[in-house]
């Protein structure tokens, strides 16, 4: 541990070995910065603490006991939620996983392919395509959702899985990122070498380019996954049948009913807790891929 050797003796040995190498942790402890950051962390964790304690309460305790006083009804609430309308909650969870998982995979593939083509090939109209794409980044999909609904209604696709999946496959931002990654990580020499060896263009893309772009593609995948998981407007508009709902639309509907049936509030809260758990787990596991350098792209464009 060379890093520990350089720190003065009076530094408390709180920092983990990994943090010790960080340049931020060297020198005297900066208590003001630490306290401000911990306050920020507290603010961000407050609603999470709340949902954990609130989901252990039954209907009457929710409005009578102190906010952060836990109770013992978590399991009852989960059972009740599972029983609610034959387990429609778990159906919503599955739908969400399907929309976000499949949607993000397809979208990453399309982004990778388009980004690769935009970065490595020249074709007529390339610049036009790219500027339209940039405009697409500035006017995100949400504003298009309502016109998309009208179009889908014309071809009879509303209220199907497709109506939520298809519009989210194209992500201008994903393509934009993929173009940057392709330009930076796939050397043109390699492509040419593969061509002389007689590899087809699609084969070059799927075997060579994708593996070189992989770290970037994981970031695009995560972005899209979260974007689709968070998307509320599109499924809210497109779907009428609550068997197709993702969790966001489903819980929103449940909350609406809660206004007249307060007993549903505990279900809504328990549902909220269960639905954020998988995402939080994924976040913590894949943390190191969240290196978002928006500006690097901006400079190159």
């Amino acid at each position: 541990m060379t890093a520990t050797a350089t720190v003065p003796v009076d530094v408390p040995r709180l920092s983990k070995p990994r943090a010790g190498k960080d340049r931020a942790s060297r020198g005297k402890p900066n208590w003001i910065a630490t306290v401000i950051l911990l306050l920020g962390a507290l603010y961000c964790l407050l609603p999470v603490f709340w949902v954990v304690t609130a989901s252990t309460k039954d209907g009457s305790e929710l409005f009578s006991t102190f906010t952060f006083a836990p109770s013992s009804h978590l399991w009852d609430n989960i059972v009740e939620l599972t029983a609610y309308r034959d387990g429609v909650f778990w159906r919503w969870m599955l739908n969400t996983a399907l929309y976000a998982g499949v949607g993000a995979l397809l979208s990453t593939y399309v982004s990778a392919l388009s980004g690769y083509v935009l970065a490595k090939f020249t074709f007529p109209g390339k610049n036009t395509v790219f500027s339209v794409l940039l405009m697409g980044v500035l006017v995100p999909g949400v504003i298009l959702a309502i016109p998309q609904y009208f179009l889908f209604a014309q071809v009879g696709l509303t209220n199907t899985y497709w109506s939520v999946l298809l519009p989210q496959i194209i992500s201008p931002y994903g393509i934009y990122l993929a173009r940057i990654y392709a330009a930076a990580s796939v050397p043109t020499d390699v492509i040419e070498a593969a061509r002389t060896e007689g590899a087809g263009e699609m084969r070059i893309f799927s075997t060579i380019a994708t593996s070189m772009m992989l770290p970037g593609l994981v970031t695009i995948f995560l972005f899209q996954f979260v974007a689709i998981w968070n998307n509320f407007l599109l499924p809210y508009i497109m779907l009428g049948d609550d068997g197709l709902f993702p969790i966001t639309v489903g819980l929103n509907g449940l909350l609406n009913q809660g206004a007249t049936v307060p007993a549903l509030y505990t279900l809504v809260i328990t549902g909220a807790l269960l639905s954020v758990l998988p995402l939080i787990a994924m976040f913590l596991l894949l943390q190191r891929f969240w290196r978002v350098d928006l500006a690097a792209g901006a400079v190159k464009a």
């Binding site: 630490t34 962390a41 709340w50 504003i143 298809l166 496959i169 976040f283």
Partner: protein, 283 residues
């Protein structure tokens, strides 16, 4: 091609619809009685002169004015503090502040909505204990700040990570040199770090600005908990209501074209201003 099908086509179709109107001819019976006719800018005039639209735009602008500077200011502060020397528990704070990004807007509005409810809220508990009268965050005066807080909670971590990532890319030697010249930590932060990551700040501002204009999920989720949110509280909520509750897809199309144009205009304007300023400094 896919891009054309899913992005360009809806835009073209929306523009087309926005110039149309259903006209009922004769007695309004039979299949031929209702038809679309071209009405030029009639829908636009109606949309723009609708006082509800103006009010919703006003609310969103105020909302953006409250939210964007507060969110980015905090994000920048956190990013700089994370990068500062001697900060303890930085890893924990970073993950904790970033965590809300994983929570969908609907869920976070739901959580905060309950925290705002007098019967549940810990804030009311504290206020009660102190014998003060607590402000009603869900009342019509304050609900805008309540919603801004939700968006801030969800967005600050993401913006912090973006800025922090670009801070990390700066070679440490620059700071060492500044330090030798007698610069304090605060000097380094304000005079070196902030200008270096300016492009990141510009990009995050731009994306926040766009997100602000299309706020929809938060107020829609809060509506059952608060009766001070109308169905046309934001422009996008109004489009939704016109299209699906009132069945007036033509005026909804016109309004969404106006919003899209406004977003583009605002984005370009913003980039222009920022670029001018950047060049101004170089002279």
């Amino acid at each position: 091609m896919l891009f054309l099908a899913f992005m360009a086509a809806p835009i073209v179709y929306a523009v087309y619809l926005s110039f149309q109107k259903t006209q009922v001819t004769g007695l309004g019976l039979g299949s031929g009685a209702r038809k679309q006719v071209f009405v030029g800018f009639e829908n636009y005039v109606a949309a723009l002169s609708d006082p509800e639209f103006g009010a919703s735009i006003g609310r969103v602008l105020l909302y953006g004015l409250v939210l964007v500077p507060a969110m980015l200011g905090l994000a920048l502060l956190f990013a700089l503090l994370l990068d500062a020397r001697g900060t303890r528990a930085a890893g924990f704070s970073r993950v904790a502040i970033f965590l809300p990004y994983a929570v969908p807007a609907v869920i976070s509005s739901l959580l905060w909505g309950f925290l705002y409810l007098p019967g549940v809220s810990p804030f009311y508990f504290v206020f009660d204990a102190l014998g003060w009268e607590a402000p009603d965050i869900l009342s019509s005066d304050l609900v805008l700040f309540g919603i801004a807080n939700i968006a801030l909670w969800g967005g600050v971590g993401f913006n912090m990570i973006v800025m922090y990532t670009s801070l990390k890319a700066v070679p440490t030697e620059i700071y060492e040199a500044a330090k030798l010249d007698g610069a304090t930590e605060v000097d380094i932060a304000l005079k070196i770090k902030v200008p270096i990551i300016a492009p990141s700040i510009v990009m995050t501002s731009l994306f926040s600005l766009i997100a602000t204009l299309q706020v929809f999920a938060e107020p829609t989720t809060l509506r059952p908990l608060s009766n001070s949110l109308s169905t046309s509280w934001t422009p996008l909520m109004k489009v939704y209501r016109d299209a699906f509750t009132r069945d007036d897809i033509y005026s909804a199309a016109a309004t969404s074209v106006v919003i899209a144009l406004a977003t583009l205009l605002l984005s370009f304007l913003f980039l222009r201003i920022v670029q001018k300023r950047a060049f101004g400094q170089e002279d």
